[in-house]
């Protein structure tokens, strides 16, 4: 259940950025999670519901974009998509590949309201 720690990381970083921008409320937090990480979205969402309570993200949604794995062959340079288990280069059958996408645990952006927003609306 390391999703609790990961979710705490998401909230901490989002709240810091939101406070700097003088946000009154966080509406949405958008993150990218690589399919090669061992992170379960249901567990993330559950932890998020628990941890957001009493914060300015109390009513925020957590939008998760899944990133499918992609690797580059260190032998012939080919870039190819693959599943979690098979990093075999389709061009030269080498196994010596470097993962270039699919291990992301990244906060992309947050959507916030500020006092200014409310004044503008008012």
């Amino acid at each position: 259940m390391h999703e609790m720690g990961i979710t705490q990381g998401i909230l901490t970083a989002s709240m810091e950025a939101a406070e700097k921008a003088h946000a009154t409320r966080i509406n949405e937090i958008r993150i990218s999670v690589g399919d090669m990480t061992d992170v379960v979205e249901d567990a993330l969402q559950f932890a998020f519901e628990v941890l957001r309570e009493g914060t300015i993200a109390e009513e925020a949604t957590l939008a998760v974009t899944h990133v499918s794995p992609k690797s580059r062959c260190t032998q012939c340079g080919t870039e190819f998509s693959h599943d979690r288990w098979d990093l075999l280069c389709p061009s030269c059958d080498a196994f010596l590949c470097e993962v270039v996408e699919g291990r992301e645990l990244r906060i992309d952006s947050i959507d916030i309201d500020t006092d200014d927003d409310i004044e503008e609306q008012g």
Partner: protein, 219 residues
Amino acid sequence: MEIDLSAPILAKNDSLAAANRELFDEKGVFVLDLLASPGAGKTCTILATIAALRDRYRIAVIEGDIASRVDAEKIKAHDIPAVQINTGGACHLESDMIQRAISVLDLESLDLLIIENVGNLVCPTEFDLGEHAKVMILSVPEGDDKPLKYPGIFQVAEAIILNKYDTLPVFDFDEAAFREAVARLNGKAPIFPISATKGDGVAAWAEWLAARIDGLKTR
């Protein structure tokens, strides 16, 4: 209003890990993060590694467990400094725990620091502690299908120790299938079959580690 962050979720852990690594580099201490299931033989493998390398390197161990001091006491019984971290339920170590643990170790007088992570094939994979290499242990009784079930850990490991190799005749463990599955996940990691309690195969693993320790010193 949208704010673009493009920030790693584990930024706090990662930055503390980077600080740990900088300190280890400065002091010339090679740090190994050892990952495995509970019961795979992490502590026995550490003891076998200590026996193989203690004449050449000054070694200390950080033991990560949910509870108890059992493992640290086992290491200390061999006159090797050991620090026990009790996570109190957390399923993996994080870099701030390592930062606290190393504050009680004399890094100046060390060449090798082995961190025994909490027994778990999933969670420790994502957390950088500031180590120079993650190495995993799979034991024969766990089965040859583990690379298919827990691909993440096999991908981050720079070497894979296949422990309890002496039990191969009594378990239905297909070594060829295991090696094939590992190669498809991680073609770079060498596999070291060992029997930690008997010492078989430990020399090859210890030489791999010694080369990495020497590599840090000459960097």
